[in-house]
Symmetry: C2
Subunit: 242 residues, 2 copies
């Protein structure tokens, strides 16, 4: 039935879903395999598509993400629209879209959404064609990406960095409830794309009243057992834990 | 020549330009006069239009603002796109757009831009049809507005409130270089849509190290001369002025 629902060929949505896997910041991309007269071609793109004429932008973003990756109920936020007249000028991109949507494509303005989630065993990618995968954002530079998706990912990353600077407590949703300072440092460096010095980082964050050291240790570590910490929104409750 | 440049009938830009006139926060609106078989109709809309197929979103926003209001070089920031399928369902809005652009209109997604400026003698509205005017944002509620422009203005106002909370120094670009605390209070209340108590406001802001009291007074006031203040980015330079 779905192919009879008309598309709006001028407007698309794209989802920049960042996922933290405990070590690195990843972005969710779709692998494209395009067969052309000149040979086969392979590249990556963000989960996205042109919108149906009868759906809201927010609904389009959730629908497209689910259809292409299997992910459901991801808290997507609209962050910016991209409308350079040349962003859909690569004939390969246009051809691919026309083949997948059976719609005549000219210029497309895309409304981009961003999300930041924890990749754990509950996160399973399961789409019809199983081509969605996580990629370390550090690897993006070496990849061939469709449309202006490199720029959209870069702007999405800027957006979450700004976001976490304003509301740093959101970072702790990406860690286990009890975490070591090394785990926190890996997260901090991943979302800020930095490489902190271990000692300086510890010195800095231990002054932070919202972090409560616990009398519990993470064992099975290569060197010595590492103390676990908990994050408290209210600094006063954090002090009680010590 | 311009009428031969093709429009993209699915995507528009709208500009929410807020202006502070020393007393109230205003928003720039266009008066529409529509002649219909059923009689004449009059309402207000944001300066906006569908985009040309060959221009970027940013360029479209500046162009449309200049064409409709005469304002040039306004620092517009893209803040959100609005794409409810019903936002352009009012036949009056569609008819008006088709008449002004000579283009067949169906569903339109609009990319909204926001700006905040000081209204002074340098700001002159001069468009071809001279229907652009400033309106106190407090009066918006009583007005008939086109499309979903009431919602776009509300979201634009939220955006600048958030913006000034993060970067309060930007507020002082809307005041004279030397200002009284009353002038500052009027601005503060206008951008936050609050009504501060005079004494509490003074007590609060006088603790702020970036405000430097001057040995100068504003005369010609109804009661007594009011002390003038200057804003300094660096609190240390502010202290030297005292």
């Amino acid at each position: 039935m779905q192919h009879t629902r008309p598309y709006n060929p001028s407007v698309s949505v794209d989802c920049v879903v960042f996922g933290f896997d405990g070590k690195a910041l990843n972005v969710l991309l779709i692998e494209r395999n395009i067969k052309e007269n000149t040979g086969n071609y392979n590249d990556k793109k963000l989960p996205g598509s042109i919108i149906y004429t009868d759906e809201t932008l927010d609904n389009a973003a959730s629908r497209v993400l689910t259809e292409l990756t299997g992910l459901k109920n991801i808290p997507l936020s609209q962050f910016r629209s991209f409308g350079d007249p040349n962003r859909s000028s690569n004939p390969r991109d246009v051809l691919w879209l026309e083949r997948t949507t059976h719609t005549k494509i000219t210029r497309i303005v895309t409304v981009a959404y961003v999300a930041l989630i924890k990749i754990n065993r509950k996160i399973i990618l399961e789409s019809e064609d199983r081509t969605a995968n996580w990629y370390d954002v550090k690897e993006i530079e070496q990849m061939t990406l469709a449309f202006d998706h490199r720029q959209i990912i870069a702007k999405g990353l800027e957006h979450i960095m700004h976001w976490l600077k304003l509301e740093p407590h959101l970072m702790f949703k990406l860690l286990p409830r009890k975490f070591t300072l090394s785990q926190f440092r890996l997260l901090y460096d991943a979302v800020n794309q930095t490489q902190s010095d271990v000692r300086n980082f510890q010195k800095k964050v231990l002054q932070w009243k919202n972090l409560a050291p616990l009398d519990e240790f993470k064992t099975g570590m290569p060197h010595r057992a590492a103390r676990l910490y908990k994050y408290h929104t209210n600094p006063k409750s954090a002090q009680k834990d010590t």
